[in-house]
Amino acid sequence: MKRLWIAVVVLFLVLAASLVNNHALYRITSDMTESLEQAEKSFQAGNTHQALLLTQLARQKWEQSSGYLYTVLHHTESDAVLVLFTQAQHYLEQKNPGREYPVCNAALITQIELLYEMERLNLKNLL
């Protein structure tokens, strides 16, 4: 019976770890998307410099958590976020970012939201 209880405890630990991971991903991604949405608003208000700072701040948050994210997520998904961050920053550093930045930023926000979405415990993901 000892083995049974060990196995049950292991299963509960796996379940708990997946819930903690879910929560951690939500926290990390929501922080980043919030900064990026603010950057978008600043850009719409004509403050490109503020938008750039907020995008850099979001990237810093990403890099702080990159070790964890690369451990739990597929590397292609994480790499895609990094590429979009670089693109968004590049557009904002240009004199006339035009329409390219909003499109790139929207893609970046969606990609980050998808990181959390694909790890959520719901029927859609299970099936």
Binding site: I6, A7, V8, L11, V14, L73, H74
Partner: protein, 218 residues
């Protein structure tokens, strides 16, 4: 290396009997964990945890099932199935064979592998839950032990099936040097007239016949 060590630990935890004899649930486990372990090994873009977590989960579930099957007979029957008696006192149990989708050819092959050529010498043939066939011969055909004389070989050679599940095997008929008239005579001597009524009919070199009619389905 981490995944390899995890697999070794997992298989060790499952117990010794599972390494040699795979029950259906263990076969499923072996297939799943080998696949799960190979994916992160091949692709560095997939985190190691994607292999480790499902393997640990599967091992834990298998551990729970294996403990439950030890403690509960019902659970054991549900997970592992139960042994089936395929031959009882020299008679084929066709219902059991059908239930287990075990053909006459497979039975003959298994018996030959165990050095048995004549079904009528088999007291019991039991299809174990691991898929292995245990063959118990009548005492007079068993191997010599300290208290028993060796069985006297009565020749006869290898019996070959002439009728397998209602179908006539013409090649074997020629091989045995008999014709359909002789075969029909043998069948009518046993109160039957059509091949379709016969499940298995074998003939050895001395033309001794083993006969098993089809069971009438209720």
């Amino acid at each position: 290396m981490i995944l390899y060590l995890l697999l070794i630990i997992g298989i060790r935890l499952m117990g010794k009997h599972q390494v040699g004899e795979l029950e259906p649930s263990e076969l499923v486990l072996a297939m799943l964990i080998s696949d799960l372990a190979s994916v992160p090994m091949q692709d560095f873009g997939i985190p190691l945890l994607n292999g480790v977590i499902p393997i640990i989960t599967l091992l834990a579930i298998t551990m729970i099932l294996s403990v439950l099957t030890v403690h509960s007979l019902r659970m054991r029957t549900l997970i592992c199935g139960r042994p089936s008696i395929i031959v009882e006192r020299g008679r084929l149990k066709q219902t059991e064979m059908k239930k287990n989708r075990f053909t006459v050819d497979e039975l003959m092959e298994e018996l030959r592998q165990q050095g048995v050529t004549d079904i009528s010498t088999v007291e019991f043939a039991i299809l174990e839950t691991s898929g292995q066939l245990s063959v118990l011969l009548f005492p007079e055909y068993q191997t010599i032990t300290s208290g028993r004389f060796p069985p006297v070989s009565d020749g006869g050679g290898l019996p070959i099936p002439l009728i397998n599940d209602g179908r006539l095997i013409l090649e074997n008929l020629k091989l045995r040097g008999v014709d359909e008239t002789w075969l029909k005579q043998q069948i009518s001597m046993r109160g039957f007239s059509r091949y379709e009524e016969i499940f298995l009919l074998t003939v050895d070199q001395d033309l001794r016949v083993y006969f098993s009619p089809k069971e009438v389905s209720s």
